[in-house]
């Protein structure tokens, strides 16, 4: 039943459960466009929780707005690949067309335009989100057409479907992608060998987590199974936030049944009855399809009570949608978000396998890991371990974007050399660098293109961004530095302050006012963040700028002043307000440049 009160509706849909606060806030905003203090107060009142809990959620997530935004909220993806594809000109065009400033609603409340972190459309960018729905392949013509539709106040469901069409762009298929799995086959195989048998096969396969860290999946499952507790959970980490990564989006689009079946066999192995798929907010457009797939699977008893008719095997899944917070890809931050809180990483240990969702044993696996687990169930651990390398078994999906002819998803056996990927993707012949693993990963240069994608050589969650010799690598690093400053959760001192200090120093260099001092400071702050930060985000946040400096010095050096130090403050610029007051702008009202 819909009332005329969106808050009441949202609260009711989630059974007045404060654990679903992020979902309730998301659905309320979808109806109201933004979240006023009064709205936040009403949510708090209906959930019987303090209003500052609602405020902490609203102000933490980038997609929640506590100030008025337009009825049409446009967020342009601002990954470095979007920049290479021209998103800045499109942003300027949009702002000019509507006469608005970034992040502010137009006077008539119709539209607001802003930037957001990578939306996972790097192979078909530049991209944006319109009221959380993805629109890829933007061009001047498409931007103009969209602006016309907005001015005519056309509802989103009357926009051309073509605008919302997202391609899979699978360019190279291996065992996982080449043939669809027969639905139910992984479950049947798992049930045939039993819970212990399945766990043994997963261990035998040496399957390792595809999210980047590479923890052994079998050990994780076993630890959760052995942990004391009456209830256990399976969480699928579909918060694919690493800039340049989009392979999970393809799995979620075209292999959803396989993901849920992967969750179900994991549940079977550890004795879990409830599962969550945590979907990044940028992929919210996939939620209806994922919900429909869950419904279909319930009907044929691949989810729900007595899965496949197997007594004592009850398992069901629900979708939780994030709201623009990269840090939620960190598993304990994800669990906090899943429980309706800001996504701040927890102190570890204890680990989720013993103290996860609601402090109970929980397995958090990446989308791709769960899909690979179905491969293991069907073909056996030994067959799986036969592919790839000794320490990196099976295949790996790569999200390839940047300067290449065929951006998209590539599946390789682990151990593939970077040069092979570049050749297959039709990379620019003068490819000068590849950022492997996104901004938290490593910057590889041609002398390293013989290196291999594997946990023991170049590990990656899958992001693979190619840069030709024409690209200004300083601008690449600058984009990454801004990304981390925007995404730091703010919990620990070194990352909260360090990422913003890096941003200020990089901007000083970009303005042509940097010196050798800024470079040294950047490296010192990087060292501090790496040693002292609470989680991986801060520990990795200085890598990109440090890699870029060590490998592309000239791009920095031509921006540096030929002196050891220049003050951060531009005294002449600081006098601008005084000139306005004095009504002067003659030479005498400016400080002389001292050289």
């Amino acid at each position: 039943m819909r009332s005329d009160n969106p808050v009441a509706d949202a609260v009711q849909r989630y059974n007045s459960d404060p654990l679903c606060l992020v979902q309730i806030v998301r659905e309320t905003q979808a109806a109201l466009g933004w979240l006023s203090r009064e709205t936040q107060g009403e949510i708090a009142e209906r959930l019987k929780i303090p209003v500052n809990r609602v405020e902490s959620v609203v102000t933490f997530y980038a997609f929640f707005f506590d100030k008025p935004r337009g009825a049409y909220r446009l967020l342009l993806s601002d990954n470095v690949t979007d920049r290479m594809q021209g998103n800045q000109a499109l942003l300027t065009r949009l702002l000019g067309r509507f006469g608005v400033k970034r992040g502010e609603a137009s006077a008539d409340g119709l539209v607001s335009v802003d930037l957001t972190s990578c939306t996972g459309m790097c192979d078909q960018g530049p991209a944006m989100l319109v009221n959380t729905i993805a629109v890829p392949r933007l061009s001047e013509a498409r931007i103009d057409a969209i602006a016309d539709l907005i001015e005519a106040r056309t509802p989103l469901d009357h926009w051309p479907a073509e605008f919302f069409r997202v391609e899979d762009n699978v360019r190279r298929a291996g065992p996982l992608l080449q043939a669809p799995m027969t639905p139910g086959s992984a479950l049947d195989a798992a049930i045939a060998i039993g819970r212990e048998g399945l766990l043994n096969e997963i261990k035998r396969s040496n399957l390792r987590g595809r999210g980047g860290a590479g923890f052994a999946t079998g050990l994780k499952w076993e630890a959760a199974r052995n942990a004391p507790g009456a209830e256990r959970y399976i969480v699928c980490n579909a918060d694919e936030g690493e800039p340049g990564a989009f392979k999970d989006r393809v799995l979620l689009t075209s292999h959803a049944g396989r993901i849920f079946e992967g969750m179900a066999i994991a549940a079977y192995a550890i004795g879990a009855t409830r599962g969550f798929l945590y979907l990044r907010g940028e992929y919210e457009y996939l939620k209806p399809r994922l919900d429909a797939e869950i419904e279909r699977m319930r009907l044929v008893r691949r989810l729900g009570p007595a899965v496949r008719g197997c007594a004592g095997f009850d398992f069901d899944v629900e979708i939780h949608v994030g709201a623009g917070a990269y840090v939620c890809g960190e598993e304990t931050a994800l669990l906090e978000s899943l429980a309706g809180k800001p996504g701040r990483p927890r102190v570890r240990p204890p680990y989720p396998v013993t103290h996860g969702y609601l402090g109970r044993p929980t397995v958090v696996n990446n989308v791709e890991t769960l899909c690979q687990a179905t491969e293991v169930a069907i073909h056996g651990g030994a067959a799986f371990a036969g592919q790839g390398t000794k320490n990196s078994t099976g295949s790996k999906l790569l999200s390839v974007s940047g300067d290449c002819e065929r951006p998209g998803v590539y599946e390789y056996s682990f151990g593939v050399p970077i040069a092979q990927v570049l050749e297959d993707a039709g990379a620019a012949p003068d490819a000068a660098a590849v950022q492997v693993g996104g901004p938290s990963g490593v910057l590889m240069t041609p002398d390293q293109f013989t290196r291999r994608i594997a946990f023991e050589d170049v590990p990656t969650s899958g992001s693979f961004m190619i840069f030709s010799g024409q690209r200004d690598m300083f601008e690449v690093a600058r984009n990454f530095v801004h990304f981390f400053a925007h995404e730091s959760c703010g919990f620990c001192t070194p990352c909260r302050v360090g990422t913003s200090l890096q941003r200020e120093m990089v901007e000083k260099i970009a303005e042509g006012r940097g010196t050798r001092y800024e470079i040294n400071e950047l490296m010192r702050v990087r060292g501090l963040m790496r040693r002292m930060s609470h989680c991986g985000l801060g520990q990795m946040a200085g890598n990109a700028i440090s890699d870029c400096w060590s490998k592309f010095r000239p791009t920095f050096e031509r921006r540096l002043l030929a002196m050891e130090f220049a003050p951060a403050m531009d005294l002449d610029a600081a006098l601008a307000p005084a000139r306005v007051v004095a009504g002067r702008d003659d030479a005498g009202a400016h400080l002389k440049e001292e050289v």
Binding site: P50, N52, C492, S500
Partner: protein
């Protein structure tokens, strides 16, 4: 001695369940800290208590002591990093010690002296942060807040009021108040709350007691923070 770890090869005993910070305190070894307070659950956000355990840098306030741990707690390198983090705390807020009522009783200032912080070193952010003087008995000065969440924990765990929370993220992280207006006066806060007297800096101060004790004769004016035994 069954339960002990070592610092520079000297055995330090601990009681099972103790954190490294607690065990060090019992043994009279000072580990600097700001967000930690013995009455509250460990938090691990300020990172000043960072120590090296078996080669890894960890927070002493959250890691459980165990036999076989080899610790490094006091080296020029560690202390330089602690000083840098103190400087980060100074530049992200607006800290003007000479005019602050908390001067001499402020843990941030005292740690600045302890770690020989003579300048802020980094660029100052000078954020535009407000003062909430709405409450008749207390003032919140967000310019000085270091996001240690001690007031959050005290209000939640001792006062059972949940008056304080943390909003925003990154450098915009800020102290928020549980009331319809966001103002302290409209909250359940009382000057008798534990949360009213837990702030390690001058972000939450009682009204009408300004400078009762002269600066120069205050707690950390008399002895360094490392000599403190009650925190």
């Amino acid at each position: 001695m069954d339960n002990y770890f070592t610092i520079d090869e000297q055995p330090i005993p601990f009681t099972p369940g103790q954190t490294i910070l607690e065990a060090c305190k019992s043994a009279g070894i000072y580990i600097p800290h700001l967000c930690h307070h013995p009455e509250f659950t460990p938090h691990g956000s300020c990172k000043l208590c960072a120590v090296i355990v078996n080669g890894r840098t960890v927070s002493a306030c959250t890691i459980t002591a165990s036999t076989g741990q080899e610790l490094v707690v006091d080296t020029p390198e560690l202390n330089a990093m602690r000083r840098a983090m103190l400087q980060m705390l100074f530049v992200e807020g607006n800290h003007f010690c000479p005019g602050c009522e908390k001067s001499g009783n402020c843990r941030l200032q005292a740690l600045g002296y302890e770690f020989e912080m003579t300048t802020p070193h980094f660029i100052e952010f000078y954020p535009a942060l407000g003062v909430d003087a709405s409450h008749p008995d207390a003032i919140i000065d967000r310019n000085r807040c270091i996001k240690c969440e001690l007031c959050v924990r005290a209000s939640r765990d001792v006062d059972h009021k949940e008056v304080f929370g943390i909003g925003g993220r990154g450098l915009e992280t800020t102290l928020i108040v549980n009331s319809p207006t966001g103002k302290l006066v409209d909250s359940a806060f009382a000057i008798t709350d534990r949360a009213a007297h837990i702030c390690p800096v001058g972000a939450i101060l009682p009204k009408r007691v300004g400078y009762a004790e002269p600066i120069g004769a205050r707690k950390y004016d008399r002895e360094p923070i490392s000599a403190e035994t009650d925190a």
